[in-house]
Amino acid sequence: MAGIFGIYAFEDIWNVSRFVYYGLLGLQHRGQEKAVISVSDGTITSLTGDGMVQESFSESSLASLKGNVGIGGVSTRDINGYVGRDIVIFVDGSLLVDENLAQRILEATQSKEELVELTKIFSKIEDAFTMLILTQDKIYAARDSLGLKPLCIGGIGFDLAVVSSESSALDVVGAEYSRDIKPGEVVVIDKYYIQSEQNNSNAKAHCGFEYVYFARPDSYINGIPIHEARYKIGELLARRNKVGADVVIAVPETSIPFAMAYSNVSGIPIDLGFVRTGRHTRTAIKPTQMERMIGVQLKLNPVATAIRGKRVILIDDSVVRGTTTRNIVSLLRKKGAREVHVRIGSPKLISPCPFGTEVPPKDELIAVENNEEEIARIVGADTFAYLDIEDLKGCIKLPLCLGCFTGEYPEVTK
């Protein structure tokens, strides 16, 4: 998974490097292992770093980046893309950009019919991608024909155009959201125009995981406000598998809107269940088991008075291996919870993602072999229930890729 951000100032009196930096902060939730910024003032300069954005770039390193055009990326693993002298490419998705592809893209950008040439290349790619391309004086933004990963465009006054994986980063730099880049579309931003070319594709399939887990709640993805989508999911969780309880508790932070809606519909009060130690990290996308464990332990110190003697409804966004859920349930029991009923804001995760989202192989997914009743026993809960997949479809009302929940995937080139 990755987050990508680009900004174009129509006049060269602007230096955009700090805009890219803050834009990446607004996408930090999409990748916390690597960060990269490239800017151009006619000459491209790039900086890469390990870890969070704020650790990756210092004041002095940022000051060395100058240009009126820039792009950046954050990633859950090594940056997927290509950093060259004449071209920089950052990708969110499963597409791997090798030297050869980068060269072909560079040549396409230099041709007279740049958008037509780029569209030709992109229409043959069978992997998922959203992509930002920086040349010496242009930015190109592209999305695969299914529109799997999100990408949107906006502007700041008369001065700057901005593209970003999510609208949250537009807000952070003070840009106004204009629209989503369409599936199969390539947009070029340069001094003379913003233009686009689109593959005629009817087979759209937006990543469903964005809605339940990945995107920030203040973002709009494919025109759908994430917070509203999660709120609806929470309402449905409360309407199904009803159970009497005294308190609703969310596993922070993605699950909070689910839990709020659950509480409002069920009438069961919501309470503060956990307090975080240290900085906010996304535990589910940490690469190793040890890191995930450390993350969970630091993230989730239970507030005993909210739990003791109570029948607890515990809301989480997803269950991968079940280890984290099991730890949390056990923590709640140790703090005196009388009953623990687990509700999950997404359907059963049963299949890996071929499009770049880090879902472990099948034999590491608890839902592949176990039904809800069995999982309840494994994690030590009184009851356990997933979101029904039909309910998820009903909440989003867009053509979705739900491959990780069903094992059936759309084809990228169609």
Binding site: F10, E11, I13, W14, N15, V16, R18, F19, Y22, I153, G154, G155, I156, G157, F158, D159, A161, V172, V173, G174, E176, S178, R179, K191, Y192, Y193, I194, Q195
Partner: protein, 477 residues
């Protein structure tokens, strides 16, 4: 009756087209506009900024009415000289056209007369003072040349993120420097104007006036961003829309009335300040803001361009109004307009707006049969004719007009009609103008501004800013 139009743009083409329904049209233009050439019984290629040359031509023709289209002719004193020689002119005198020429004059006038819809501002005669101010009082501002410079040189900076303040201060300083170094304020003493930035939806109210009364026209909204979705550099306008019943879908009758009152007040204030009655056209470039509701961004001393092209084709009593202005009496006069929606889209050559030389001198062909087929019209702007061929002149080359039952419908007609326009050079226009999506966005923005200004109205806070500073106390401005 003879009617002389002074000017060479799409606005003048639209005015001349309307005038030709009644009058014998004559044209004084700086470049050979293909549209004006066709309409005019006779034309003169002349410097339309020269009072002598234009007046000499008028002396020769002896027209009953002279209509001056562009502000620069007014600033240069063309209307003054024509009147001195006894001609009947629709166009403000150079003294009263100061309402457009000097943004500092306009802001001061509004402040001195305590008018609603005013904005806080400061003017600077030197870069040094402007830079010092930018350093000390950062915030969301618009930096402009003190003089009207064809919409050029205006920079609007929203400065809401403390973490990006440094970058923005830098751009503000560099921009003020550009205004001073490139002498954008020309002959004025004050060079740089800084005013508070406001947010909302913009609209234009164009009025004919005798200086005492106004004949307001239907509202029009222009689209200043160069590119789709309101992104990109500021232009003179990439297209405009108008709705039924004199209103736009996002402006209410009481807001229209308030805007008209504001224009009437400023006409009185101009009379008080200059001792002259304003005779001609005055247009308010308004924004519906949360601070005031109708708020003045700029005044035009002429019809808007492209806004003129929306309304001229609809106007049914153009001669009555023109002759009223000529007699300097338009009391109780109303504009009679066909009650339809209109859309105008401007076509620009690649290079516009920032590198116009790239867009200059390219051939362009307009197939009138296709336009007729769809019921659209074209008004030529920055275009000239040479040896029977039409060429681009660097700015917006033409405007395509259509009317319809809805704005969306008129917009679709314009889009179809665009197939009539060809050039080997890359041309662009905004396809998003008049789409339901963009109209919805305008309605949302207007509703937001309206909710806040109504709250301010009920709390007696309209137009006010109240601060409380630790150690200093309450400051009301």
């Amino acid at each position: 009756m003879k009617f002389l139009i002074v000017g060479e743009g799409a606005r003048e083409h639209a005015i001349a087209q309307k005038a030709s329904e009644t009058y014998d049209v004559y044209s004084a233009m700086g470049i050979l506009n293909p549209g004006l050439k066709r309409i005019a019984r006779e034309y003169a290629l002349t410097d339309t900024l020269s009072p002598q040359k234009v007046s000499d031509y008028a002396d020769k023709i002896r027209p009953e009415i002279i209509f001056i289209g562009s502000e620069e002719s007014l600033f240069a004193g063309v209307s003054d000289e024509l009147r001195k020689r006894g001609h009947v002119v629709i166009g403000a005198s150079s003294a009263t056209a100061m309402i457009e020429k000097s943004k500092a004059f306009m802001r001061r006038l509004m402040e001195n007369h305590n008018m609603e819809g005013r904005l806080r501002f400061k003017t600077f005669a030197s870069l040094e003072h402007a830079s010092k101010y930018i350093e000390e009082f950062a915030g969301s501002i618009a930096i402009k040349p003190a003089r009207q410079a064809g919409g050029k040189g205006v920079k609007v900076i929203a400065d809401m993120q403390a973490y990006l303040k440094g970058e923005k201060a830098d751009v503000k300083r560099k921009h003020a420097q550009k205004i001073v170094e490139e002498k954008m304020s020309g002959d004025l003493n004050e060079q740089v104007l800084i005013e508070e930035k406001v947010e909302g939806v913009e609209y234009t109210l164009q009025c004919f006036t005798d200086g005492r009364h106004v004949v307001p026209l239907p509202l029009v909204q222009d689209h200043p961003h160069a590119y789709e979705e309101d992104i990109g550099p500021e232009t003179g306008g990439m297209g405009s829309i108008s709705g039924k019943g004199n209103l736009l879908p996002f402006i209410r009758q009481e807001e229209y009335d308030g805007s008209q009152k504001l224009i009437e007040k400023v006409l009185d204030a101009i009379h008080e300040e200059t001792g002259e009655r304003y005779v001609g056209v005055i247009s308010g470039q308004f924004m519906l803001t949360d601070k005031w509701g109708p708020t003045i961004i700029e005044f035009y001393s002429r019809l808007g361009d492209p806004e003129a092209s929306n309304i001229m084709p609809l106007l049914q009593n153009f001669p009555e109004i023109c002759e009223g202005v000529a007699r300097q009496n338009v009391s109780n006069m109303k504009a009679k307009c066909e009650n339809v929606c209109t859309v105008v889209k401007c076509v620009a050559p690649k290079g516009y707006p920032n590198e116009r030389n790239i867009g200059r001198g390219h051939p362009i062909v307009v197939d009138e049969k296709i336009l007729d087929k769809y019921g659209a019209r074209v008004f030529f702007g920055s275009a000239f004719e040479e040896n029977g061929k039409i060429f681009t002149a660097g700015s917006r080359v033409c405007e395509v007009f259509s009317k319809g039952e809805t704005i969306e419908e008129a917009g679709m007609t314009v889009e179809r009609a665009m197939t009539a326009i060809h050039s080997p050079h890359k041309l662009f226009w905004r396809q998003d103008i008049a789409t339901p999506e963009l109209l919805r966005k305008r309605i949302t923005t207007a509703d937001l501004a309206r909710d806040i200004y109504n709250y301010r109205l009920t709390k007696g806070l309209i137009g006010k800013t109240i601060d409380w500073l630790p150690g200093i106390g309450r400051i009301e401005t």
